[in-house]
């Protein structure tokens, strides 16, 4: 479902659920892309490992299944955002709405709105959760956005962008991946 990181190829076959692999792309500068597995039991583990080193984070969202999984997506995104290391480094964040070639895909705007709403509620519930065993609050000190106002992605300390992309491309399996937005963004941050 959601992979933090990205791979870069025109292949359509994707191995999910286990490997962490590094792909280096080349724009003007060299950027190493790391793809992290999205499986629920694995995602946090790998996030821990790589969050300190991340210059930027690409959060890939399945635009088709988004409606069903919005809570899960929001929760994972919340975890990424609330993490103290992430907040400290404030890497650029790109939310890539993938699978735009499928007709049912939601637009980036819609996804943004939904995520903001969900994160809004999550803020409240998470900070109200019982404090952790050794006293450190679970979601406490990291308060996303401004209190009192509805959550908005612009309130985050990092730059957030939304981009639509499609790994398959509109021509079907063998078509070129539709990565323009992604590539441009990569070039910007490199």
């Amino acid at each position: 479902q959601l992979l933090t990181g990205k791979y870069r190829d025109t292949q359509t076959s994707i191995t999910d659920s286990s490997a962490v692999y590094r792909v280096s792309s080349d724009k003007s500068a060299n950027v190493t892309l790391i793809d992290l597995p999205g499986h629920e039991s694995l995602r946090l583990q790998f996030l821990e490992r790589f969050k300190a080193a991340a210059r930027a984070i690409v959060f890939v969202v399945d635009s088709v299944a988004f409606q069903r999984e919005v809570k899960d997506v929001a929760e994972f995104l919340y975890q990424v955002l609330v993490d103290s290391t992430v907040l400290k480094n404030a890497p650029a964040l790109l939310i890539a709405c993938n699978k735009q070639d499928v007709t049912m895909a939601k637009s980036a705007k819609l996804i943004q709105q939904q995520l903001e709403k969900e994160l809004n509620t999550l803020r409240v519930t998470r900070s109200a959760a019982p404090t952790s065993l050794d006293g450190s609050a679970t979601g406490g000190p990291a308060q996303l956005g401004k209190k009192g106002k509805d959550f908005d992605f612009s309130q985050l300390p990092m730059k957030v962008e939304f981009v639509e992309c499609s790994a398959r491309g509109s021509k079907g399996e063998e078509g070129d991946a539709d990565f323009e937005g992604l590539e441009k963004w990569l070039a910007k941050i490199a």
Binding site: S18, E75, L133
Partner: protein
């Protein structure tokens, strides 16, 4: 973290997998469950080895890009391996490995058993699998041992068939005499018990008459003892000698065994089936030799460390079987992995174990109760939580704590007193209700009483009370219903049935198992039996099982926090709350890292 098993069954298919830790590959074989194909393990090992050898360079050079870009033209090789494996499994001539050994020992010369063609590859592959299960280390050792042979016999499976029989025989002889001098590796003995089990009873061979006393001295050698219980088939050793189909691998094993017998050492044997477990302690000396060359982790290196870790975990109140399984899965995960230059085995193992523990404790799915309550609010139905557990773990106390927390967050709570058995249960809950209402008077919540108690006295049917409570809550617009049940032992069948009925009939949103942190090995039993009862007595297709765990009395244990691990491991459900005292504020959520740190602390 559950890497201990290597097979997975789903509907009609069974999947067996094998990990290659060095290159981070997984080889999976799927087959229909009803066919018990014995060659599956072999096949997967063959495939693994061949694939790795073939594409080793690509992996090393290009890393991931190699994986992505390389086209793996493996189909032909795979078909070939598959055919070989199938062939070998079909033919089962009743020749016994034991026969061979016996004759071998008696004659102390190279002998071959009468076998059909098909048998040989099977045995050979078995041995290869056995050796293959030690990955590089073993092969590194085996290779020098077979240096004279000069071929990569332990490695490529396919190559075997290509050696002509004469060559094989010749090589065997050479190797045999060479290896006869060396201290033997005992690991290869394990195929023998395998072979024994598969053959039936055979009449004893008569050529033992000219064997020396050593051979007949069954009591000494451990492997001999186990092997010789099977009577051996009649056969003529001379004919056996002339048999062309001897594969090197078989001879390899036997030589070691005869070496062993010659020395009459009592090296610890590892007779377990190589398919399931990897490694034999008997090969320790060989392993040490192999260590000098490459730095990949082998079972032998990890065993002492794992033993220590296992004891450490058990000392920290982790259930014994869980600790064993955990160490097993860590071993599987690390086996064959190439270590960095400056890391010790201990640190690698500790690290892996720590990761596995954190992984276990971290919830797979969301554990946000408030969120779910809000959802239920939106649909205008109450969110039902049921507490179950054995006697005296703190259900009622923690129920009160949780209702306090919910009220603090602005949800109204209805407590259903479905504990109709224990004296004073209803009064206890009534007292809690009164105190909570005093703390949160209706005035401060817009005129709503935040907590109410729904009770019907003692001796009534719990499931019925629960149902009425839920409909009452729906009518009155309560947000949450907390159902308190009586404590019951997991062995008490009628009570378990009653609980299962309550849960099945009322379909609560959340079933919480309340367990105390002081419990030790009992935790496993409790949870397993509870889940089983819930599953058995539910009529539905997908029964409601335990959804979460409340770990209570956490303040009474200092750092012996192993119960948390046992419980989450067994159910793979998250720990939703942790109870740390007897006042309303003593409710916490789990911090996986802190718990693991406490666990791993010396």
């Amino acid at each position: 973290e559950r890497g201990g098993n290597n097979s997975f069954t789903h509907e009609a298919l069974t999947l067996k997998y094998k990990l290659d830790n060095q290159f981070e590959l997984v080889f999976v074989v799927g087959f229909q469950k009803i066919l018990t194909l014995t060659y599956v393990d072999k096949l997967i090992d063959d495939v693994h080895k061949e694939f790795r050898d073939k594409y080793r360079n690509e992996f090393q050079q290009k890393g991931t890009l190699g994986l992505l870009n390389g086209t793996f033209d493996f189909k032909d090789d795979f078909m070939r391996l598959l055919r070989d494996a199938e062939e070998s499994s079909k033919v089962r001539a009743p020749t016994v490995m034991k026969t061979f050994e016996q004759s071998l020992k008696s004659q102390k010369t190279v002998k071959c058993m009468i076998e059909t063609r098909g048998e040989k590859p099977k045995e050979k592959v078995k041995n290869k699998k056995n050796k293959g299960s030690k990955k590089e280390g073993t092969e590194a050792v085996a290779a020098p041992g077979k240096a004279s042979a000069g071929d990569k016999q332990p490695s490529a499976a396919g190559d075997r068939e290509e050696l002509t029989k004469d060559e094989i025989l010749q090589k065997n002889r050479e190797e045999f005499f060479k290896r006869h001098m060396k201290a033997g590796e005992k690991s290869s003995k394990s195929p023998k018990p395998d072979a024994q089990k598969e053959k039936g009873k055979k009449p004893r061979v008569w050529d033992l008459g000219n064997s020396n006393a050593k051979v007949l001295d069954y009591s000494n050698s451990a492997t001999n003892g186990s092997a010789e219980t099977c009577p051996v088939e009649e056969f003529d050793p001379d004919i056996a000698l002339g048999d062309r189909n001897r594969e090197p691998g078989r001879l390899y094993d036997l030589e070691y065994e005869s070496d062993d017998e010659a020395e009459e050492e009592k090296v610890i044997q590892n007779p377990s089936k190589p398919s399931a477990k990897k490694g034999g302690l008997g090969g320790m000396f060989g392993m040490l030799k192999g260590l000098v060359g490459s730095k990949s982790l082998t079972r032998e290196d990890m065993d002492p460390v794992l033993e220590k870790m296992k004891d450490h975990l058990i000392a920290k109140n982790v259930a014994a079987e869980i600790a064993v399984q955990l160490c097993e899965s860590v071993a599987k995960k690390l086996e064959g992995k190439v270590m960095g230059t400056f890391t010790t085995v201990t640190s690698t193992v500790k690290q892996a174990l720590q990761e596995a523990l954190v992984q276990i404790l971290q919830p797979q799915r969301r554990v946000d109760v408030l969120r779910d309550v809000m959802d239920a609010q939106r649909h205008r139905r109450p969110y039902v939580v049921t507490f179950c557990g054995v006697n005296g773990v703190g259900k009622s106390t923690n129920l009160a704590k949780i209702s306090f927390w919910l009220i603090e967050n602005g949800f109204s709570v209805l407590i259903a007193a479905c504990d109709t058995f224990r004296a004073g249960a209803v009064e206890q809950l009534r007292t809690h209700t009164r105190r909570l209402n005093a703390l949160h008077p209706p005035e401060s919540h817009g005129g709503r009483t935040m907590v109410q108690l729904y009770e019907k006295g003692y001796g009534k049917d719990a499931a019925g009370i629960a149902m009425e409570a839920i409909s009452y809550a729906r009518n009155q617009g309560f947000d949450v219903v907390l159902v308190d049940t009586a404590g019951r032992m997991q062995d008490n069948a009628p009570l378990m049935t009653a609980l299962a009925k309550l849960i099945a009939v009322n379909a609560p949103d959340l079933v919480l198992f309340v367990g105390e942190a002081l419990v030790g090995n009992e935790a496993v039993d409790q949870l397993v039996k509870f889940n089983k009862a819930l599953a058995d007595h539910s009529m539905a297709q997908t029964p409601r099982l335990i959804d979460g765990i409340v770990l209570t009395k956490f303040d009474t244990i200092d750092d012996k926090v192993g119960a948390a691990i046992s419980m989450t491991y067994i159910t793979s459900k998250p720990i939703v709350f942790v109870g740390t005292g007897q006042t309303y504020c003593d409710l916490r959520s789990l911090n996986a890292k802190a718990v693991v740190a406490a666990l791993m602390k010396a």
